[in-house]
């Protein structure tokens, strides 16, 4: 008898309890792969999305849409109105922001929905575009993979060679609360084609401060100790004759090992950082004749000298903007906690007044297959 009741009970529960009443059919969903955020002339928020189009009758494989809205949730509502489907943010690959938006303090707050709604991904790549976003979004190049995939591919492969930074939404979020390090994100420009330009440096409030090109980005990541193995740098060695229009004083190498030791101290009201960069390199290109056999230590010194100049240029840039993309503040916090805590809220200024000493040592491990 009790068995029978049990079965009745199970049958009723199965009918009543189904976990699928919040399911969503694929036909009814639109998955934007790219979200773009911009401001118009009157500083209204503009939201762009790029959505792949699966319908057979559609001639274009993607659809783009731009709407004006106060918040992203509102933008979603408005974009919904254009599609026979509901928006799902969960496949977002790329967040594109314009330089105009980045000129405003705390712009990152408008992206709150990404961290609050558990359904949204945190791994979308953050990319800055220098200009109005509508230029890129509606570009629709025929002979290239479509925009979100193109941008994501650019960031992923180039950051693999340290030529740009792969800053995800989560990284941005982390740095927003971090006083000892400022964010840097990938930057693209439009020169007939979309081009990955390097890195945009942001300040403590998330405002745009300056841009770095590919080589500077590599140097930055060497200082951060995050340079991937085998990054490639090109330098001009002074004292080598230029011949004609060709720059035959150039030399390129790839690194086998790049390591930066950072020593932190606090003296007389100033922070002091000693950055010791050590590189083991293999030459990949040398456009001038050189007696490697006898004078390789001289060349090592020359390379170190040139690198040091470039590093110092980079640090000068950083200090003049009062930003800290290297993350020296984290070192200051770890090793000189008390004085750091006092200046924590103006770390950018404290760093601009800090003494940063730099030393570079280079060892040539290989010269390639020819002399």
């Amino acid at each position: 008898m009790s068995k029978c009741w049990l079965h009745v009970f199970i049958a009723i529960s199965v009918l009543l309890i189904s976990g699928c009443n919040d399911r969503l059919d694929l036909e009814d969903a639109a998955f934007p792969l790219l979200g773009g955020y911009d401001l118009d002339e009157k500083n209204n928020l503009l939201t762009y999305v790029t959505v792949p189009e699966f319908s057979k009758s559609a001639r274009k494989k993607t659809q783009e849409l731009g709407v004006r809205a106060k918040t992203l949730q509102q933008a979603r509502q408005q974009s919904d109105a254009y599609w026979p489907a509901v928006f799902q943010g969960r496949k977002m690959l790329v967040i594109l922001v314009s330089k105009r938006l980045l000129a405003h303090v705390d712009w990152f707050r408008i992206l709150d929905v990404f961290s609050r709604d558990a359904k949204n991904p945190l791994t979308c790549r953050m990319i800055m575009y220098d200009g109005p976003l509508s230029e890129v979004i509606y570009l629709n190049q025929q002979d290239q993979p479509f925009l979100p995939l193109l941008l994501r591919g650019m960031v992923d492969t180039k950051s693999g060679r340290s030529e740009t930074v792969k800053t995800t939404f989560q990284d941005m979020h982390r740095l927003r609360f971090e006083k000892g390090k400022t964010p840097s994100i990938a930057e693209i420009r439009l020169e007939n084609e979309i081009k990955l330009n390097g890195t945009a440096l942001l300040d403590h409030q998330g405002k745009y401060a300056d841009s770095l090109d590919a080589q500077e980005t590599i140097l930055l990541q060497i200082l951060q100790n995050q340079a991937k193995h085998a990054v490639s740098l090109t330098l001009a060695i002074p004292g080598q004759a230029k011949r004609g229009p060709l720059n035959t004083d150039k030399l390129s190498f790839s690194t086998n090992k790049a390591k930066t030791h950072i020593k932190t101290a606090f003296h007389d009201g100033h922070f002091q950082f000693d950055l010791a960069v050590h590189l083991s390199i293999a030459l990949t290109e040398r456009l001038f004749p050189y007696d490697m056999h006898h004078k390789s230590t001289v060349l090592e010194k020359a390379i170190a000298e040139q690198l040091k100049k470039q590093f110092e240029g980079l640090i000068g840039k950083i200090q003049s903007h009062q930003i800290d993309p290297i993350g020296l503040g984290i070192h200051a916090q770890a090793f000189t906690y008390k004085p750091y805590k006092k200046v924590e809220d103006q770390w950018g200024r404290a760093l601009s007044e800090a003494n940063i000493h730099l030393s570079v040592t280079v060892t040539i491990e290989g010269v390639g297959t020819i002399k």
Partner: protein, 359 residues
């Protein structure tokens, strides 16, 4: 004569039940709470409270060993009379019920937040209660086997937590003792809830196959819990920046959101679903213990009827009232105060009482 001979549990099962009860409630929010109190020094608080809990747990075992054939209620009846035993049974039943209730409601809140936002709490409660009943209606041995199973199928979880470490910033842990010991003591206090639940030893003890292993058992299970807490907290501390971690409600889950696989999106969903097994150990053994206490008080050998009553109270109760996250947190805070009374203060008093009585 052995009263509980048919349901003896092995040392392994004992450890699994005890660690399971400890590891569930509060695991997901723990790193954030430690960080609130003591920044990245919070992990030292874990070590302090671990020492404290091991000692408290050893005291419980020491008390129990003076009447090895019975539970805490049997012991109190033996030394203090029938009524004291009955009152203890009621109080323990309420305590275990509350413990399980906080655990199961928190789990429902997590499920709603991360997995099934549009399913009603009542339905989720029913879905959780059905397997609860099927496991808990049997004797303690089955509960022990279930705990063992959960332990073994959860062994892979720590490895997944090593993946986010490639973005770790170990410097966040320095300097140790940033602001002195005071914040660390305060973090230890907040970690106390996570380590509570050892009171279940009072009911488990007579079922343990070899009583001499009880000391080792509680030491091992507390250490296992401590290691898991420590590992998870440290990973969250080095992954998030010290002020960012305070922004999350469940940093333990957020840390996983950044793992990217080509073949699966929202990897954390898999984890939350899997954590349900672990979380279930916060209410299955405790509801079982609660039902056991009630049936002991009524003098009946079968604990299934009280269990059914608990079942109905929970199912019907969710229709009327379901705590929100804040209310659940508040209940958790009460619970840790009550737990302090049951698991630390009372056993110490009893130990002193037993000593004076012997002399």
């Amino acid at each position: 004569m052995k009263k509980y001979a048919y349901n003896e549990i092995t040392l392994m099962q004992f450890i699994c039940i005890l660690s399971g009860v400890q590891l569930s409630v509060g695991l997901l929010a723990l790193p954030q709470r430690l960080a609130q109190r003591a920044g990245t020094d919070g992990w030292i608080g874990l070590l302090l409270i671990w020492v404290f809990t091991v000692i408290a747990n050893l005291i419980i075992v020491r008390v129990m060993s003076s009447y090895p054939q019975g539970t805490m209620m049997d012991l109190l009846t033996h030394y203090c009379g029938r009524w004291v035993g009955k009152i203890a049974a009621v109080l323990l039943a309420l305590y275990f019920f509350l413990y399980g209730y906080v655990g199961i409601t928190r789990t429902i809140l997590y499920v709603k937040q991360w997995l099934l936002p549009q399913t009603s709490t009542f339905q989720i409660m029913l879905l959780l209660l059905i397997p609860t009943y099927t496991v808990a209606r049997n004797g303690l041995r089955i509960v022990g086997r279930y705990a063992e199973l959960v332990f073994f199928i959860s062994l892979w979880i720590p490895f997944a937590y090593l993946l986010p470490l490639q973005d770790a910033q170990w410097l966040y842990l320095l300097p140790v003792l940033k602001e002195g010991w005071l914040p660390i003591l305060s973090a230890a206090e907040i970690a106390f809830l996570s380590f509570s639940g050892i009171g279940i030893t009072m009911v488990l003890y007579p079922f343990l196959l070899h009583k001499r292993q009880a000391f080792a058992g509680v030491a091992i299970s507390n250490t296992v819990s401590m290691l898991v807490f420590l590992m998870i907290s440290l990973i969250c501390f080095v992954y998030f920046s010290p002020s960012e971690i305070k922004e999350y409600n469940e940093p333990v889950v957020n840390v996983l959101k950044n793992i990217e696989f080509k073949f699966i999106e929202r990897i954390e969903v898999v984890f939350i679903s899997f954590y349900l097994f672990m979380f279930s150990l916060s209410w299955i053994p405790t509801f079982h213990a609660s039902a056991f206490c009630v049936s002991w008080m009524l003098g009946k050998p079968d604990h299934r009827n009280p269990l059914r009553v608990i079942w109905l109270i929970l199912a019907a109760g969710t229709l009327l009232f379901m705590p929100s996250f804040t209310q659940n947190d508040m209940m958790g805070r009460w619970l840790s105060k009550i737990a302090f009374g049951f698991e630390d203060a009372i056993p110490v008093c009893l130990l002193i009482y037993l000593w004076t009585k012997k002399e």
